[in-house]
Symmetry: C2
Subunit: 396 residues, 2 copies
Amino acid sequence: MFNIIELDNGLENVQGFFCGATNVGMRPDATQGDVAFIRSDTPCDISAVFTSNTFQAAPLKHFQKYPQGFQTDFILINAKNANAMTGEKGIEDIETIMSHLSTKQQVLNPIMSSTGVIGYRLPTDKICSAFDKLAFNAKNSDATACAIMTTDSFKKELAYKVDLANGSSFNIAAICKGAGMINPAMATMLCFITTDADVPKSDMHELLTASTEQSFNRISVDGDTSTNDTVMLLSNKSSGNYQKDAFSQALNKIMFELAMMILRDGEGANKLVTFEVKGAKTLEDAKKASMALSNSLLVKTALFGEDPNWGRIASTIGASGITCDDSTLTIHYDDLLIYSNEFRELDKAREDKAYAIMKQDAFKVSCDIGLGDETYVSYGCDLSYEYVKINAEYRT
Amino acid sequence: MFNIIELDNGLENVQGFFCGATNVGMRPDATQGDVAFIRSDTPCDISAVFTSNTFQAAPLKHFQKYPQGFQTDFILINAKNANAMTGEKGIEDIETIMSHLSTKQQVLNPIMSSTGVIGYRLPTDKICSAFDKLAFNAKNSDATACAIMTTDSFKKELAYKVDLANGSSFNIAAICKGAGMINPAMATMLCFITTDADVPKSDMHELLTASTEQSFNRISVDGDTSTNDTVMLLSNKSSGNYQKDAFSQALNKIMFELAMMILRDGEGANKLVTFEVKGAKTLEDAKKASMALSNSLLVKTALFGEDPNWGRIASTIGASGITCDDSTLTIHYDDLLIYSNEFRELDKAREDKAYAIMKQDAFKVSCDIGLGDETYVSYGCDLSYEYVKINAEYRT
C-alpha cells in the first residue's frame, strides 16, 4: 500500500534539486524568463524520450552525443528559439554556451533543451549573459515553469509526495510546456520530471516510456509533431526510498495530469474530449480510429460548434481504414446512445440531450466497433477561430 | 494530332444527353434546385470510382447491386441529404424512388447519387414530387450544376470538343461539386462526366482511375474523406468517334481543372498551393510527404497568415516518417530558394521576396529531399477563420 499526495507548487519539493529563470531579452516581456535551469547538487541518472520527427533539433542531437548511461546534474532551457534545422552550427552553439556555463558553475554533462521558432541560430551571447544573472541555488519552480512557456496560457507544474507502507517516502515533481503542434507520437512539448526516489537506472526508461504512451502520446491538439519534443526524468536518489509500483503509479499520474493540462491549454481549445474506441478487432484498429477522431478537422469544428452531428464521427471511423461495419457500430456521447443500427436518425429528445452534453467543458465520445475486444483511448479538443488566429500570427 | 477546345457551359454540349433540376423544398431557397437528373437517350456504358470510406452511403451500395458491366441511361441526384449511415432502409428508399420514377419516365438501371448531411432518411415523397416537375428533355447544365452544390460558392462545369486528326470529333463534359470534407483518396465530391466519344468499355475504367489519381486524389481541403464521394463517366458513343490518347488527355484535363475548381472553392480557402516533393527515395515517400504538407494544420494556418515560416514545412516533412536528411533538403517557394544546407537562416531580403510570393492567390512550395529521383505533387489550400465558421455551423 502507498499514498500519493499532491503538494503545492512543483520542483522545489524534490530534495537536492534547484531551479530558476531569468530574462535575457529574447522575450519582450522582461517580467517573464526566457532562460531557465534545473540542477541537482548530486549527479542524476537520466532517461529521455524524444520526438519521432526525423529532423530532431540540435539539443536532441547534442544529448545523444553523450555516452549511453551518462549522468548529469544540469539542464539549461531556453524559449523563443527551437535551435532546430540549424545543422552542425546548432550543436556548436550549444557547446559554446555550455563551455561558457562551466566557467561560472561546476556542471556534469550539462543538457540543453529549446523551444520556439525553427530555423534561426541561437543568440549565444544573450543566452550566456544569463549565467551572470541566474541564482543557481534558487528553488523557484514557478519562474522556471513560466520561462519555458510559448503559446501556453498558463504554467504547468505538479508535485507529489509518495508515502510508502514502511513509513518512508519520496517526492516526484514536473514542469512542462505545450499548447500547439501537439500530436500523438509526442508534440511540441517539453516535460522535465525530477525525483528523489531511489529508482534504479534499469527501471527508469521502462517506466518513462510506458507512461509516455499512456499520456503525451495520446493527446492531439493539431496533429503536428515537432522537432523538439522532449520528456526527461532525472533522479538523484537523495531520499533513498523506492518501491516500483508506487513510483510507476506516481509517474503515470503526474504525466497524465500534465498531458491533460496541455490539452486544456490547447491553442484556442475550449473543450477536452475523450475519444474511446472499443470493440475493435485489433488494438491497432482501435488506436487508428481513436487517433483519427482526435485529429479530424470536421470532428473538431463540430465540437467547437457544439453540433451533435454523429455523422462526422461515423464518417471519420469509416475513413480511418479499420475493419468496421455500420450495423455493429454504436456511438455514445457520455451515457447517451447517439447511434446504433436501430437508432440511426437522431430524434429531437436525444438531440436535445446531446446538445446539453456537448455544452460541457469535457465529455466522452465512445464508439463501440462491435467486432472484437480491443480498446484505445485518446484525448483531443475542439478547433476554434482562435487556433487559426494564433497559428496564422505565431511568428510575426 | 488532336485539338482540345473549351466550350461554353457544360453537359448540353454532349450529343444525346439531357439534364435539369428542380426544387422540391429540401433547400430553403426555391430558386436553386435540390433534385437534378442527367440522362441519355440511348444506353450508356458507365464507369465509377467511389470513396475509400468503409461506410459507403446507400446510393453507392445501390449502384453496386447492379451486375458488372451494366448499362444505364439515367442518374438522379439530390442535395441536402447524403443518405449515408441509413442502413438497409437507405437502399429501400432509393428503390422506392426509382420505382416511382419508372412510372413517369422510361429508365434503364437508374442510378442515384446524394450529397448532404449524414444520418437521416431521404424524404422520398418530396424527392418523388420532382418527377412531376422535371423537364426530362431539358439541356440545362447550369441548373444541374447549381442543384448539386452544398457549401460550394460557385457551380463547377466544363466542356471540351476534341477535334481528331481525321477531321472527326467528339465531346466531353462534366459537372462536379465539393468544397469541404476534401481529401486525397477522394472527397465529399460528386463528379459526373458525360461523353459522346465512342470509347470502348474496356478503356473506360482504366482511364477514369488514372485520371482520378492525377486529379481528385491529389487535392486536400481538410483531410477528411466522406461517405459519398463519386466520380462517374457515362458514354453513349453517339458521335461514333474516338482516339484513345486524345480521349485520355481530354479526360485528364477536365478532371484536373474541376479538381482545381474544388480547391479554389475550398471552404474558407483563399490560396491554392502546389506541394511538389521531389528527389525522394521512393514514390511512396514523395507522396507521403506531399500529402502531409497539404494536410498539416500548421502549414495551412501559416499559408493563411502569409508567414514565410519554412520551419513548419521542414518539420512536417520530418514528421511524415519518410527517409530524409536536413543537410540534403532544399525548399523553394516558386523560384525562391528558401532553405538549403547552406542557407538555413532566412535573411531580410529573401524573407521580403517570400512575403511577396505568399501574397499571391496561387504559388508552389517545392521540396527537394535530395536522396533519390521520385516526385509527387499534391494540391492544398490555406485554413482560415471561415473554414472553422462554415464547419462549426454547417448542420445548424
